[in-house]
């Protein structure tokens, strides 16, 4: 927690603001307030006690209970299905949007690019209630569909916010594309399509992966929009955890949350690494 307290320099120079105690205290205190509760949550999911306060020994019982709980399993399968399908669709739509905005010049380009960042700035609750009305009044979504199809409304809602994140990431990646490569390919006789598939798409690939992982995590973590678009049979994992918290905070909740944290943190770490490495590797 106190990484910054281990700065190697023995005598702080004028620029080593962080070697001074007020700032160290500030950083360490912030880290403590933010991350200690998170670690508490994870540690106490292994605690052999119904109550969360006293440590009574190590156990995996709560994980076993979580993994055997049918409604949690159902919610988890729902979450994964929604995440997979919405990621696939967002990557396709997001990449296409990024490519079109990059390749063509439009009259309202600034406006279109602004629209792309709407999901980043507009509160999720707005999109949540909007989709609720959208799927009841504008495009009435049938409720009594068999399993994967009843997730359709949630999937569409998820695509709507995650595809713009994918588009932003892919667009940042495309900005580093050296257009001389494209010209060279065209000079050598490649068709537009061939140039796109053999030259541009391979360049986009790290962005596509990073964007896809981002979309997957966003979808898996999302609570608000799902909360408003889900019905009794289409509960997802975060929504289920939320209703469990409302009931009472039990070690099962800890275990379920820990699983969710581990999955999403791992995915985000991979996504951020890919996003970071592709930017550094290819200066234009």
């Amino acid at each position: 927690m106190t990484d910054t307290a281990r700065l190697p320099k023995p005598k702080p120079g004028p620029l080593d603001y962080l070697a001074r105690w007020p700032l160290r205290l500030w950083v360490a205190g912030t880290a403590l307030f933010l991350y200690a509760p998170l670690i508490t949550l994870m540690v106490f999911s292994f605690n052999n006690s119904r109550r969360n306060i006293v440590w009574r020994g190590f156990t995996l019982d709560y994980y076993a209970q979580v993994l055997q709980d049918e409604s949690l399993q159902h919610a988890f399968v729902n979450s994964l299905t929604i995440a997979f399908v919405s990621t696939l669709l967002s990557v396709i739509l997001g990449a296409a949007t990024a490519l079109l905005l990059w390749r063509f010049r439009f009259t309202f380009k600034l406006g279109l690019e602004g629209a792309l960042s709407i999901p980043i700035v507009v509160p999720e609750i707005c999109m949540g209630v909007a989709f609720l009305v959208f799927f009841t009044k504008v495009v009435p979504w049938p409720t009594a569909l068999p399993w994967p199809l009843n997730l359709g409304a949630i999937i569409i809602a998820h695509v709507s916010f995650s595809f713009s994140f994918v588009a932003s990431v892919v667009r940042a990646r495309l900005a580093s594309f050296n257009r001389e490569m494209e010209e060279a390919a065209r000079d050598l006789g490649a068709s537009e399509w061939r140039t796109l598939m053999d030259i541009i798409v391979p360049h986009m690939r790290p962005g596509l992966f990073a964007g896809g992982l981002l979309a997957f995590t966003l979808s898996l973590d999302d609570f608000v929009i799902t909360f408003f678009t889900s019905g009794p049979d289409t509960i997802t994992f975060p929504v289920k955890v939320y209703s469990m918290i409302r009931f009472s905070v039990t070690p099962e909740v800890n275990a379920a949350s820990t699983l969710l944290i581990v999955i999403t943190v791992a995915l985000t770490a991979i996504a951020l690494r890919m996003q970071g490495s592709d930017a550094g590797r290819d200066p234009s």
Binding site: D3, R6, P8, L15, D16, Y17, L18, W26, L34, Y35, A36, P37, L38, T40, L41, F44, L93, L100, R103, F104, R105, L112, G114, A115, L116, S117, I118, I120, V121, V122, P123, E124, I125, C126, V129, A130, V133, I156, F163, S168, V169, R171, A172, R173, A175, S176, E183, E192, D221, D222, F223, V224, V241, Y242, V249, N254, L260, V265, T268, A269
Partner: protein, 292 residues
Amino acid sequence: MTAVAPSRSHPRSRPRASAGTDPLWIRVLALTAVIGFLGGMILLPLATVFVEALSRGLQPAWEAIREHDALAALQLTLVIAAIAVPFNALFGISASWAVAKHDFPGKSLLVSLIDLPFSVSPVVAGLIYVLVFGLQGWFGPWLQAHGISIIFAVPGIVLATVFVTFPFVARELIPLMEAQGTDEEEAAVSMGASGLMTFLRVTAPNIRWGLAYGILLCNARAMGEFGAVSVVSGHIRGRTDTLPLHVEILYNEYDFVGAFAVAGLLCLMALVTLALKTLLEIARPELDSHGV
């Protein structure tokens, strides 16, 4: 990140495949596709909010916003943002200074920790504070004995908001500061400037646009957060009810015009953010390249 130049800084014109020479039908198709995606997936749902809010005219919508609980929620939302955003800005500056300009053991751990809140579900972000400060949590009994309430009160909402908006400023500043290096600061120090003076006169002007951008995104999220805040807030009308929570309460009470009016207010605040963000991007084009 900064190694990626934005597209508009590529003046190299393409003799063959430039946009102007694309066949008209391709351009029309492309424009239709973009407008179709953006319009159908983003603008249409957003428009629904305003249509619903104004479905019975301007008057009921205006009343819903001017009503006592809504004003209290607006005030709370602004107060929360006013605490959480400066806190995160200050932390973001210190942390990115440490990460970008120094090497120390555990640096990559600190970077991962800064990014962590992005990948924790908001519901879990709220839960961790309930677990520690809630009535059945670690400090719950002690806090209650001393008459301090954190969960189901404003401090809990602040904590949860700080957590979910934590990475925004630092993530903008770290790549920026890394690219700038320490040469200018070292020059200032070698000419006798103090640490604080160096920061105020040299570092701060260099990072101000990135900082403004990070603060803007941080603020948008702080005012709009629902999931984490919903877990730690007791949903007490007029007291621990933020604007996003108020939307849900009104909705659950079948006050649709009210719910959508308040949601519309939130959207308008977000659109102001968006306008400022676009202005910042024009003022400082390399910000474009930051994905999220």
